[in-house]
Subunit: 357 residues, 2 copies
């Protein structure tokens, strides 16, 4: 690769790093961030690492009005031997471009983006936490910046990467969660933006989450937008079930996010010779399996939690308790293997990790 | 009403106003804007009119990541007797609150918001264009500003109003447009955010619009997200048809925007004693009516165009030419009446206009 051309403006006012025990998710940011601009005539230009600081936009910037924006989420982990590892970061930039395509945002060079990210992490290496279970959350995102109220794709954009040290998702051990089936609100539908990581999908989900929280549930289970019959996601995670020894997960249909943790789990299970099927799964089928004592495990998957076991599922007056509200054997094995690979404790047989030197 | 408490910081560097003939939509902004802040402990506070200037936000501000934002669009018109009129502005603030409810954004005081808007227009009265057909486009919007990557409603917001002088939508006379039926992409679905004016809905529609433009069409006709069978909207407008002497428009179903122009047209037609029905309309039904020579007119309705006649509708290999590609009698009468009331040329029998003194 040719020499990397990128400006670096050092932040002379370094912040104090938060206490490992007291880190709240997404509230602390490192000293620097990455920015790159886009215009229709120049393409992507001026990649730079600058002090973390507020950004200034015209009030008519299109991000505020028409929602042209995409993002990604991944983590950097510090191993016990003090290496810094990223987990399949090339998949995040690949997905960022897929999301951008849906939102009419210009693609970035995926390989260059990874180089920029690695450089940023290198500059901010002291921000990758030491403590067990902690990590540095990485948020790449693109926003439409042209000041224009016309309904058309923006002619200018900013691509940014910010970094946020985060604590362990499971400070008090893994406790299976209570899930509420959402049958009124819809997260996504075929032909919509469900498989894109774009802002609009997330705010649209708050209303259902608020109701679930009020009723004592942790997350909602989303059904398909067409028939309100098939399972799509749980909260902002993909979802898996173990039914009669077989693992099943909803097939990718355009409205389900194509999770990188999801993909890794499928690859692991295949490698382990465990039957895994991607297909439509109706809620009815799930309750039938439960009634026949065949529903053995259920878990959500995503970057934040990796694996989030489901202990209870509630659908109107039909309630099911899964695996006695305990984490299942398969969920545990997947969690240990994935987090083990991510943090360098388990040998990475799949070349998933990328070291930042 | 008690005395209005609001700061006003004058802009000493007034801009030159654009030529009436050369105004591009949404590219010029007036000298001042309105801002008000929200925090969970203070509620909405510090309403102020300040110079139009860039806003500064943390890169982790929630608007950039999770899309919690709503907006409105309305216009101020200058009458031939030099009065400034708003058209049903209380409806816009009512709808803004309905949109906010869907997006888990705190409500504003609708009456106060209108007072703030009137004060802003008063300060910027020279920005309301004189020229026939021109007007001052008003964009109220709310954005989530808390720097936090957690998936939860923001604890802080900004409500802003910016103003943009706009030219006549029909500089070269009203030409009926060619519309392409979109049967792959989906704009909205029941349980989603279709009836809210929120950013995510708009960027999601670009992909379909791009394809339609490439194929020589002006806009797309959106079908329902569930069955892909019933007509919902055209472009970013509501849609009406005249079939065999009766006017029909898709009924409000949660995924259709509740247009204020739409509402006004229904009220006008009822007042005129012309049959108007809000109901489901399938594309099949429309083509059948066309084949039987009963489809007399079709038009989109919205703040920008008021009435936009449809001259041609294309669905795969089925093409229909409506009213010989000319504006229909009813479309014309509605356009003349509505724009007449808005600009003070036609007596406002309905108390729809609000004067800014």
């Amino acid at each position: 690769m040719s020499e990397l051309k990128m400006d670096l403006i050092d932040n002379e006012n370094k912040k104090q790093k938060p206490d490992a025990d007291k880190i709240a998710f997404g509230k602390h940011y490192s000293d620097h961030m990455f920015i790159m601009d886009y215009s229709t005539d120049k393409g992507w230009y001026d990649p730079r690492i600058v002090p973390y600081e507020p950004i200034t936009l015209d009030p008519a910037a299109m991000i505020f009005h028409y929602g042209q924006t995409v993002f990604e989420g991944l983590k950097a982990y510090r191993t016990t031997t003090d290496k810094i590892l990223l987990f399949r970061p090339e998949q995040n930039f690949k997905r960022l471009n897929l999301s951008s395509d849906r939102l009419s945002i210009p693609a970035i060079d995926e390989e260059l983006a990874l180089t920029y990210l690695k450089k940023l992490i290198e500059v901010e290496k002291d921000w990758v936490p030491q403590a067990e279970g902690n990590s540095l959350y990485i948020r790449p995102f693109i926003i439409a910046t042209e000041p224009n109220l016309s309904l058309a794709p923006s002619e200018t954009y900013q691509f940014m990467i910010i970094l946020s040290p985060v604590g362990s998702y499971y400070k008090e051990g893994i406790h299976p969660v209570r899930i509420h089936v959402e049958d009124e609100y819809t997260r996504a539908v075929r032909g919509g933006t469900g498989k894109a990581k774009t802002a609009g999908n997330y705010a649209a989900a708050y209303k259902a989450q608020e109701r679930a929280t009020k009723e004592g549930y942790s997350q909602v289970l989303w059904l398909d937008g067409v028939e309100k019959k098939y399972i799509e996601e749980v909260g902002s995670m993909n979802v898996f079930f173990k039914i009669n020894g077989e693992i099943v997960t909803p097939e990718l249909n355009g409205s389900i996010l194509e999770g990188i943790t999801r993909m890794s789990i499928i690859e692991l299970l295949k490698d382990w010779g465990i039957p895994i099927t991607e297909r439509k799964i109706s809620l009815e089928e799930l309750y039938e399996a439960y009634d026949q004592d065949k529903l053995e495990e259920a878990f959500g998957t995503g970057t934040a939690a990796v694996i989030s076991p489901v202990g209870e599922l509630n659908w109107g007056d039909r309630n099911m308790v899964i695996n006695n509200r305990e984490i299942g054997e398969m969920s545990k094995k997947l969690y240990d293997t994935l987090t083990g690979i991510q943090t360098g404790k388990v040998e990475d047989l799949y070349n998933w990790t990328v070291e930042v030197k």
